[in-house]
């Protein structure tokens, strides 16, 4: 078996084993689950590093053909895995981060009574994530896409005894269905458009030029609808904050580092398509910018520590989409790369706080917590996300700003700029409220299994940026060259780039100082009024409820009552009834009388010969 097959199947096998143990031996020891969970994700993590190494240094493309799924005429769909530069790059952070979060989760979920079930889902999730990343054609990618959605659903509603968690899971799943509908429709259109050959990405891109431009635009748009759902962009973002109902490792892995980036990955994968449809790219940029701004605004008035991070995830994803829309694909992916580290770290730190303070999540109740190690790491992550040099996100976010600046859409650039100021604001608000307070709350430090992965991620958050060191500082953009994506963005002049960096950093520092004045060692967070448009998340949930969910419910009720129950059910019941009656009539002929049976045979013979006579009568 090839490397990729093992990488893909290791988590699946361990997930199945854990499921089996969980079902067959309800009193199995916890370390058994730990062993299999870490085995599955560990093997994949190591192999991902191997694949990344050879892809980066040897320019090797890994291909593994598993089997032919179906072949009709000259059209075939292969179940094949392929790790080109883009795929290897994705693996390079998805697999190791998954492994680290697995380690963290063994600490976080310790002594949970559903420990086994959790890791079965968790391993199953990374299996589907790898399938999504490694797929050589959009159909296999779609299987992975649906699979991560399914496991995400299972993990959000993990503590299903509380019905609210189940509702949150439902919401995530249903909102994602809208996106999936877009993705699926795009695939069907592609299926119609593609002239011949296979459905692999390379074959699709080869045939792009021969396709109808108008349908290409539609395909590009529908694919982006899919991305909107999975990557929580306007208008399909409402599920992400609710998804924080799941255990914190889930939020760290699925709703921050990996799954939500699937939309970004997919758009980057279809880069040749988006290069041919500039109007869709512009839409992507605007949707990204608006999402980033909206999420950042909402985050400034949230109190739940995980929700703040959720909105910040959405906002950062918005940045990535802005870059994608501007045609700076590798820049977007680079930000995704750094984001995976610092956002996973932030969530893990939040999880550590939540565990230490007995599942309190409200920052007003967590004021003045005393966790020095967690503080250090959370501070690193926060400085990274607000893009302070030389932390990694400084380079990635700066590259995005540069690309937007060159692209020339002033509105988008301004929104991005405001968003990054707001990011600085809400992050420092959270940090200052949590750690800089007159009141003091003591607690136990987290176990090593939780601290160790966080330290590693903290190191990565600091240094990952140097991998794509910009040319202005004498770097040579290793990652962008490696990825080799068809970037459209024109390079920004160095002088302007430096100026941009300077202005950005200056304003960010200013905002942080302001936040310090406002929130550190004060009672502002408690006294502040808590209503208005922003605090109520722009009433978007209510609007959706009123204008989308309610009318659809009315239509559904109508169909349920008149079409389904009255029309269809009656039609089926009556025809079944008629068929049954007919059967009883036929059964009268089948009455056990052997003379009659012989007579039927005779009828058959006579009929046959009459037919023969009739059809051959010309010859007689």
């Amino acid at each position: 078996m090839s490397v990729l097959a093992i990488l893909l199947l290791a988590p699946l096998v361990s997930a199945l084993l854990i499921f089996l143990i969980n079902i067959l031996f309800p009193y199995a020891k916890q370390y058994l689950y730990t062993f299999f969970a870490l085995m599955g994700s560990g093997v994949s993590g190591l192999l991902a590093l191997y694949v990344g190494y050879y892809s980066y240094f040897e320019k090797e493309v890994f291909i593994s053909h598993l089997f032919t799924w179906l072949s009709i005429g000259n059209f075939s769909i292969e179940v094949a895995l392929k790790a080109d530069a883009l795929g290897s790059f994705m693996l390079l952070f998805v697999a190791p981060v998954s492994f680290l979060i697995h380690i963290y989760a063994t600490g976080y979920m310790d002594k949970d009574k559903s420990y086994g079930r959790f890791f079965a889902y968790f391993n199953l999730f990374i299996f589907f994530m790898f399938l999504l990343v490694l797929a050589d054609n959009p159909i296999i990618m779609f299987i992975g896409w649906e699979g991560v959605g399914l496991t995400s659903y299972a993990l959000i509603g993990f503590y299903f005894k509380d019905i609210q968690n189940t509702y949150a899971g439902n919401k995530a799943f249903i909102v994602n269905r809208i996106g999936d509908f877009g993705f699926l429709s795009a695939l069907m259109l592609l299926f119609l458009e593609i002239p011949s050959g296979g459905f692999s990405f390379s074959n699709i891109f080869l045939n792009l030029a021969q396709m109808e431009p108008s349908s290409l635009t539609l395909i590009a748009f529908l694919l982006f609808v899919g991305a909107m759902g999975k990557s929580a962009q306007i208008p399909l973002f409402v599920w992400l904050p609710d998804a924080m109902a799941g255990p914190t490792p889930v939020s760290a892995l699925i709703h921050a580092a990996t799954m939500v980036t699937a939309g970004v990955y997919m758009v980057a994968r279809f880069a040749p398509l988006y290069n041919m449809t500039p109007e869709i790219s512009l839409i992507i940029s605007y949707v990204g910018a608006l999402s980033a701004l909206l999420a950042a605004l909402i985050a400034t008035r949230q109190y739940d520590i995980k929700k703040i991070l959720a909105y910040s995830t959405m906002s950062q994803l918005g940045f990535m989409f802005m870059a994608l829309g501007a045609g700076a694909y590798s820049t977007a992916l680079f930000h995704m790369f750094t984001h995976a580290f610092f956002k996973a770290l932030l969530f893990m730190a939040a999880g550590a706080i939540i565990v230490a303070y007995h599942h309190k999540q409200d920052i007003r109740e967590l004021r003045g917590i005393q966790l020095p190690k967690i503080f250090k790491m959370m501070a690193i992550a926060s400085l990274t996300i607000v893009a302070i040099p030389p932390f990694s996100a400084f380079f990635s976010k700066d590259a995005i700003m540069g690309a937007l600046f060159v692209n020339g859409h002033v509105g988008i650039f301004m929104m991005a700029f405001v968003t990054s100021m707001l990011t600085a604001y809400y992050m420092s608000r959270m940090m200052f409220v949590l750690f800089f307070s007159k009141s003091k709350q003591e607690a136990m430090e987290s176990p090593k299994s939780m601290l160790f992965p966080m330290m590693l991620l903290a190191i990565l958050s600091v240094f990952a940026g140097f991998l794509n060191f910009p040319e202005v500082f004498g770097g040579n953009m290793h990652i962008s060259h490696w990825l080799g994506l068809p970037d459209r963005a024109v390079l920004i002049p160095h002088a302007k780039e430096l100026a941009l960096m300077g202005i950005n950093t200056f304003f960010v520092l200013l905002v942080i100082y302001n936040a310090y004045r406002k929130y550190a060692y004060t009672e502002t967070i408690v006294t502040q009024h808590n209503d208005g448009l922003v605090a109520n998340k722009f009433y978007i949930d209510a609007l959706y409820q009123r204008f989308i969910v309610a009318p659809i419910a009315i239509i559904s009720h109508f169909f349920e009552k008149w079409v389904s129950q009255f029309l269809i059910d009656n039609a089926i019941n009556w025809s079944a009834f008629g068929y049954f009656k007919l059967g009883e009539i036929v059964a009268k002929a089948e009455n056990g009388n052997v003379r009659l049976y012989a007579l039927y045979m005779l009828f058959g013979v006579v009929f046959g010969f009459v037919y023969l006579y009739w059809s051959l009568r010309g010859a007689l």
Partner: protein
Amino acid sequence: MSNTFIALAVPALLLSSAIFILLFGLSSYYTKNRGYFITLATLFVSFIFASLGIGTKFSMEILPQIFNSMVVYDTFAATFISLFLLGGFLTLAIAKSFVDKTDFFTHESFVLLLFSLFGMVVLTMANELLTAFIALEIASMSVYILVGLNRNSLKASEAFFKYLLLGSFSASFYLLGMMLIYAQAKSTNLDAIAEYILHTELHSQLLILAGSMLIMITIMFKIAAVPFGAWVLDVYEGASLPITAYMAGVFKIAIFAFTLRVFLQDYITFDSVYDPLIIGGAVVTMAVGSLLAVIQTSVKKMLAASSVVHSGYILIAFASIGEATASAASAIIFYLFAYFISAIGAFGVLSYISKGSDKLIQYEDLNGLAKTRPIIAASLTIFMLSFAGFPSTIGFIGKFYILTSAIEAGYTALAFFGAITAFISIYYYFKVIAHLYFKEAEHVEVHYGYKVSLAFIVISALVVLWGGVGTSLLFDIPGINELNAISKYAVESLGL
């Protein structure tokens, strides 16, 4: 081992083993268990022999200086022989509890089983009408007696007489048809007849046309196509469950093997004449079969009626054989395998839970089985899904091939009709599943014992699933593609 050796060894083994048991049964060393295992071993060994011929293309006449090309052994024969020998083996293996618990299953029963299989083997190899007739009668006679095995049961005796009477009646058509063909073609050898047909105008071979039609009537009788198959409900009801499984799954395969050979070699030239008849037959068979199946209250009779519907599906493929020869013929072989493995499993489950008694199992008797015996219920569910042609079971693939061959041949309406009957069949098959899982029962815990029977039931269920989804992704076990390839080879060997 040369093919000649295998071709002679398989029938010889069956025959000698039958004679051995016949004599051995009189000695004081004989116990039912010994007879059972000797038969099982014979079937297994001969299955292994026959299966050596699968997958390589060959065709040869057996000892032409003695048999004068009356019998041939080719991949086609090897495939079919392995199919029904495996079927006989599985039937008997699952029927262990039945064999042990009934007193009417004496040593002669094993002998009859082996004799009938011997007849089928020769029937499959027959390349000549008279040989085929004798072989068919050897097989049929044994099956007649097997039906009436339980002399104390009025139902069984009634079934036996009905089957015998109508069977003899239908056999007379075969003889008449053979005579007519001989009168014109001056030969009963299939190759010679084919030669004659090729070199003569259609309109000057009326005797052959009429004779072929008479032979077809006998075949229609054996596969219980409407209107010749009125016996099927009574006979299947009267016969013991393993025997019913044997008739529905195994005997039918041999009949179809001969039919397919005759069709592909001779009838194919008359395709345009016979097609409307076969299509009509297929439609009536499917319609009447499903009408009868819908109203049954006993599971066994429902399966009997539904076996008529499955014959109808195979007739669809026969109708398409002229236009889409390769795909239709291999679809038939695939479907036969799909049907027999599910039928043997389903009847096996019924036999297993009726514990050897001749009690008719009603739908109500299955209530709550899923709670008390989950494995049996799951297996029965798999068999029902396969019968109904549910995706991811082998039955789905079988129907898929049949319907695609019909569409390829241009009979889209016929394929559509087949799909509709399949849709209706969901009613009576899912009724079983509904009773298994969704009806409460006052069921008491019953111990069935007989792990062997259960094991083979489960194996059959796994084969049904594997045949539906099988790939060689992880392990190299033959799946759909291999089965399909085997059927294609078998068909191609006829042309050699």
